[in-house]
């Protein structure tokens, strides 16, 4: 490719055809490139944050931009073409897609990464703003979108049908800059698949969307074995139009993966992952116990921090940097207290953040990069030195569970705890329930722990869209507050419907997954910023999913019962019915039946003829009659 080639259009076209990153570099450095270098078009960053209890949070973030005009001209550079075409075809203005597994342990790990904005409930969750004139058109486009994405990400997104789709009213706001954000032709649709198991087949297409795939840069660490062995992981794709105040609007795609790794577990060699008991001499024992002996060992806290390195945890070091990434953004950052020693591989430049809690590393593109974090030295005495950055307290803790038992009715209880000593939390609680959970809206109530009676004044606004059997699910959005330093129980009851027997899944006795509740915490500052957007979503969190047991027939029993009852009815009822409706009379009393009647008639006729006719021929005719009779 010659840099002097004048046509920018052709260049872009060529760059589309050539997927090699090196071609793209040439393209990016080309002075003739109309998309220009003025703005970084792609950057990636890995943030590592050791958490308490010997765990490590790894946040991978990949962001690429493409100008809207280029996008509309089908001029895909960093933006994945496969996705771009789907978005265009389905008229999607903004798309958010989440694949999640496990649960975030807020008690030990504190606030969620990205304030919860880049995560979803267990399974697959997606929401999008579609451009459509009518609701029907939006539904049609949504169907197109889910089906196309289903193929792209190897997920059962096509199962997001009308019963699993809702149109949230309060919980979601567009993240991007839309010129006509509140226009009537923007439709928000939200769908969730709580039972979808996220696995390697979803990771591969995810990585394919990246400009460097999984070959170079931080993405080279991503590997299905490690990602899906983590205690919690979420893969997110956000596509939104961003309009900087100076310059052209761009379409931004942000892909992120957050995972919490158990350091013990990750350090186990891959060829021998079984946690066999360690040899006795390798055990860390509390030697101060009086009974301590060679065969008696009180283990010290497993929460103790361990040493680890990238290649121990991920099984390999980072293979250089992605050549396309913005060089001004450091590819790897680690958040540990400034006092802690971190070793990086040769050639890396360490940049400490002034706040002493994080440091970043730059390293040459062609080198392998490795970080080693030695175990903190054992401290004796009263001085406690923090080995990890103290996790930030989340704004709200939420836990949801079922109440009641049995297969007819049930209840849902959400425990919402506000840890802040002086600030109340205002949030929107959203549930999208399957249609077979018929909730009793009048039973929804809030109660403050330790106070008698209901505290329904905490519920400020309820948006409720009842379910229609087999057509749509329940949508419940509640705007409520939790007073400072208190725990609120939000409860409601529901009734379980009985499904048709064909509606049960093959594993009917497992129960039915109920999607996570989405909690969107609003900013306290009501006046600030440009309207509602700034007030919105200071923090997001999701509860765990639930398993709802519906009355399930014993699917083999109907077969037995049918056979048994059919036999019983055939024998008993049949015989009985026969006896009841039949009239018994003596054989000689009954009316004559068909053949006999005919024969008798014939006989009478013949007899009549005989009487009239000649008497000498009678014997022969009589013989004939006799013959007929025997017939």
């Amino acid at each position: 490719m010659r840099p002097s080639f004048p046509s920018s259009f052709l260049l872009s076209l060529l760059s589309l055809l050539c997927f090699s990153p090196y071609t793209a570099i040439a393209n990016a450095s080309s002075p003739a490139d109309s998309i220009s270098n003025s703005r970084s078009d792609y950057h990636e960053q890995l943030i590592l944050r050791p958490l308490p209890l010997s765990t490590l949070l790894a946040s991978f973030n990949f962001r690429s931009n493409t100008s809207l005009s280029a996008f509309e001209a089908h001029n895909f550079r960093f933006f994945p073409r496969s996705l771009g075409q789907i978005l265009e075809h389905a008229g999607t203005r903004e798309l958010h897609l989440r694949f999640s597994l496990g649960r975030w342990d807020a008690e030990s790990w504190g606030a969620r990464p990205w304030n919860g904005a880049r995560e979803g409930g267990t399974g697959v969750e997606m929401w999008a703003w579609l451009e459509a004139d009518t609701d029907e058109e939006a539904d049609r486009k949504w169907l197109t979108l889910t089906n196309a994405l289903s193929g792209l990400f190897c997920a059962s997104l096509n199962f997001i049908d009308s019963t699993r789709t809702t149109r949230p009213v309060m919980s979601f706001q567009p993240e991007g800059n839309h010129i006509d954000a509140n226009a009537t032709n923007m439709h928000l649709l939200y769908g969730v698949l709580p039972h979808e198991v996220v696995c390697t087949e979803n990771l591969t297409p995810f990585l394919k969307l990246l400009p460097c795939k999984g070959k170079a840069g931080i993405a080279s660490l991503l590997d299905g074995h490690k990602l899906f062995d983590s205690s919690w992981q979420t893969m997110a794709i956000d596509i939104r139009p961003v309009c900087p105040e100076d310059g052209e609007c761009v379409l931004q795609i942000e892909q992120s993966i957050d995972m919490v790794l158990d350091i013990d577990r990750s350090k186990r060699p891959r060829d021998n992952p079984i946690p066999r008991p360690p040899p006795a001499h390798e055990m860390k024992c509390n030697t101060s116990k009086p009974y301590h002996a060679h065969d008696t060992c009180f283990p010290t806290d497993s929460a103790a921090n361990q040493d680890w390195s990238l290649s121990q945890i991920f099984g390999k070091p980072i293979k250089g940097t992605c050549p396309l990434t913005d060089p001004t953004v450091s590819p790897v950052c680690i958040q540990v207290p400034g006092s802690r020693v971190v070793f990086a591989s040769e050639g890396a430049i360490e940049k400490k953040n002034p706040d002493q809690t994080s440091r970043c590393f730059d390293f040459p593109a062609e080198n392998e990069f490795e970080i080693f974090l030695p175990a903190p030295e054992a401290q004796d005495g009263s001085v406690v030195i923090e080995h990890v950055v103290k996790p930030e307290t989340p704004l709200l803790y939420a836990e949801r569970s079922f109440t009641g038992h049995g297969q007819e009715r049930g209840g849902v209880q959400t425990i919402l705890r506000n840890p802040s000593p002086n600030q109340e939390v205002e949030f929107i609680y959203m549930e999208s329930l399957p249609w077979f959970m018929r909730i009793y809206l009048h039973t929804i109530s809030a109660r403050v722990d330790g106070q008698p009676g209901k505290a329904d004044s905490l519920i400020q606004e309820v948006y409720y869209r009842p379910a229609v059997d087999r057509a749509r699910g329940t949508q419940l959005e509640v705007r409520m507050t939790v007073p400072p330093a208190s725990t609120v129980f939000l409860t409601y009851d529901f009734e379980k419907s009985i499904l048709r027997y064909t509606e049960y899944p093959p594993d009917a006795n497992r129960g039915f997954d109920v999607a996570a509740a989405v909690i969107t915490i609003l900013n306290k500052d009501k006046s600030g910023g440009n309207g509602r957007n700034s007030r919105f979503a200071a923090y997001n969190l999701r509860t765990t999913t639930l398993l709802c047991n519906l009355p399930t027939p014993d699917f083999s029993m109907p077969y037995n019962v049918i056979i048994f009852t059919s036999t019983a009815i055939a024998l008993a009822f049949g015989g009985m019915f026969n006896i009841l409706v039949r009239r018994f009379v003596a054989a000689n009393e009954g009316p004559e039946s068909g053949l006999k009647k005919g024969v008798n008639k014939l006989k009478a006729k013949v007899a009549g003829i005989l009487k009239k006719g000649k008497k000498e021929s009678a014997p022969a005719v009589a013989a004939e009659v006799e013959e007929k009779k025997t017939e």
Partner: protein, 617 residues
């Protein structure tokens, strides 16, 4: 067919037909009992099999052992120090260990009162969140601080702690694992399970601060001994005779017996030669426990909530150590972890007669049903009889010639005479209602008042039939033979109905109550033969509910030399009613006892006295 019908019709009017039901009833009872005794034979019982393929018991390697034994010894030292200390102190220690393992810990207070005693304590439980799971399902490992006999669970508690530490290392759990430590074996687990399902009375039992998903199974460990053992004893009886899914027992059996090579016993049959005798004994022991409906271990409280649970008790002198039972639990938990669906195969009704032989409900149910049906047959016969003018009575009572008697009877021998329903209905209803009195009394009195109350009640209940009988024969009201037939008919009808529906819920209880009340079918007013009358009275009083309760309390138990005594029986019954919700007292006092009272009343009856007066007037 018509001929058959005609003969059937003629048979209907045959007076001999009414003589048949008592023999039919007797036949039912005899066949029912014989049926039960046939069950242990090879032809009538089946080998157990795993119905839920996902369980795959004994298919995984278990790795618990090695240096975990050192940890176990250390935890054992820790718990040994706690012996004899208070509940709270014990829980503080357990909490510090569980938190050190990185588990979430919750506590729960509970207070039950029964027979004037207060049973209170504090449960502590730790949740191991499935490393990759989503909190939708959970399995429970229970270690009560004291077992049902009040012995300290010396090895069980440290072993569960060691297992908790071991399980934490695995990432394969698809369900959360809850480690529950309760101060006792019945009240603590009951409080916890009730609260887990929000079925608790919040004034007595505290709510749980932490919860996980739907419970899929539970294993309780009752390991009091400190020496090596030979075999493992599976206790599986739930409250009210409910049983866990047989697949769970089979899984433990596979893992312990097949994989680990240790013996498995059930129903305290420490030695089992798989002979007819041993099988029958095992089955009868199982039936007795089922019939009593008492909680037999920490697992019992889980079963009413459709959570399959068993208790494991190591026993015998052998070479198996703590790690072996730990591996049995590990293997079983790995199996439960495999479950995609809740155990649902129709494997909840069975009688086990050896660890690998069982009879299913279809085979054994007819036995109790036949016994219950005998009452219904007799009730119907009595009803029919009550509708017919009593030929014999008229002939004998009236001093008329045989021809005259013939005249009275013959015009319409099969036209029903009018039934006088009021008195029989009232009597039976009153007797049924009176059953509430002992039920309330024995479940709400304090412990010291139980024995006096029982003695007083026994005396009253013995006198009551005489009072009622006299009441029926005062000058103004007198009872006819027809009314006696109706009284017995209603009473037997109710008994038959209750027992046949109970047979589907608690087979053994229905069977035993049916057997004890079998004489009620045959007793009748016998005004002419006083020997027959007194013989019936003796049989009835020997088989009265109060006598049976008294004698049962004197008899030696399954493994004890002497009976536990009346006071203990009554205290336990009250405890079972108040804490675990056992309904056996309801059956005894509100089903059996009223039927018995009516039975004695009808033996004492002097029918016809009224008839005479009416005719003379």
């Amino acid at each position: 067919m018509p001929r058959l019908l005609a003969s059937a019709l003629s048979l209907r009017r045959d007076p001999r037909l009414l003589k048949l039901p008592p023999y039919l009833s007797l036949l039912c009872i005899v066949v029912g009992v014989v049926w039960l005794f046939l069950l242990p034979l090879d032809d009538y019982s089946r080998r157990t099999y795993i119905s839920e393929n996902a369980l795959l018991p004994g298919q995984v390697h278990t790795y618990f052992g090695g240096s975990d034994q050192n940890v176990f010894r250390a935890y054992k030292h820790e718990t040994d120090e706690l012996a004899g200390k208070g509940n709270i102190e014990v829980n503080d220690k357990l909490e510090s260990i569980a938190k050190g393992l990185g588990l979430k810990v919750g506590r729960q207070n509970f207070t039950y009162s029964s027979a004037g005693n207060t049973h209170s304590g504090q449960n502590i439980y730790a949740i191991l969140q499935a490393p990759r799971g989503d909190a939708t399902e959970a399995i429970v490992l229970v270690a009560a601080w004291k077992n049902v006999k009040g012995e300290l669970n010396r090895s069980g508690v440290p072993l569960v702690l060691t297992l908790a530490r071991y399980f934490k290392r695995w990432s394969l759990w698809s369900k959360d694992i809850i480690f529950l430590f309760t101060p006792d074996s019945i009240a603590g687990p009951q409080a916890w399970v009730d609260a887990y399902h929000d079925a608790h009375d919040s004034s007595r039992v505290a709510s749980l601060p932490l919860k996980s998903g739907a419970l899929q199974g539970a294993i309780a460990l009752d390991y009091t001994r400190e020496t090596r053992f030979q075999s493992v004893h599976i206790v599986y009886d739930g409250v009210n005779g409910q049983l866990p899914n047989l697949d769970l027992i089979n899984s433990v059996n596979h893992v312990a017996g097949g994989q680990m090579g240790m013996g498995v016993a059930i129903q305290e049959m420490w030695k089992h030669s798989n002979s007819y005798h041993d099988r029958l004994q095992t089955m009868l022991r199982g039936m007795l426990k089922q019939g009593l409906g008492l909680a037999s271990g920490p697992h019992s409280s889980f079963i009413p909530y459709h959570v399959d649970a068993v208790t494991l008790q190591p026993f015998g002198e052998g070479w198996q150590d703590e790690m072996a039972i730990g591996r049995v639990i590990e293997g079983t938990f790995r199996s439960l972890n495999n479950l995609l669906e809740h155990l649902h195969q129709s494997f909840f009704f069975y009688l086990l007669m050896q660890r690998e032989r069982f009879v299913s409900i279809g085979t054994y149910l007819p036995s109790a049903m036949l016994v219950a049906a005998n009452f219904t047959i007799m009730a119907i016969a009595l009803w029919v009889k009550s509708g017919q003018p009593d030929v014999q009575e008229i002939i004998t009572e009236k001093t008329k010639t045989a021809e005259e008697a013939e005249k009275i009877v013959s015009p319409n021998p099969h036209v029903a005479s009018e039934r006088d329903l009021f008195l029989p209905l009232v009597l039976v209803a009153v007797c049924q209602f009176l059953g509430v009195v002992p039920l309330y009394l024995f479940n709400h009195l304090s412990e010291s008042a139980l024995i006096p109350a029982f003695v007083l009640f026994s005396v009253l209940s013995s006198i009551l039939p005489f009072l009622l009988s006299n009441l029926l024969h005062t000058s103004t009201t007198s009872t006819t033979a027809q009314q006696y037939h109706l009284i017995r008919s209603f009473s037997l009808l109710l008994l038959g109905m209750f027992l046949s529906s109970l047979a589907t819920l608690n087979f053994s209880l229905a069977f035993f109550v049916g057997l004890f009340s079998a004489p009620l079918t045959f007793v009748r007013p016998c005004p002419n033969s006083s020997t027959l009358k007194w013989l019936s009275m003796v049989v009835l009083y020997v088989l009265s509910p109060t006598t049976v309760v008294l004698v049962a309390s004197m008899l030696p138990g399954l493994d004890e030399k002497v009976g536990c005594g009346l006071g203990e029986v009554l205290r336990q019954a009250a405890f079972a009613w108040n804490v675990t919700g056992t309904y056996t007292p309801v059956v005894v006092w509100c089903v059996w006892w009223p039927a018995w009272i009516v039975g004695v009343v009808s033996v004492l009856g002097r029918p016809g006295a009224g008839d005479k007066k009416v005719k003379k007037a």
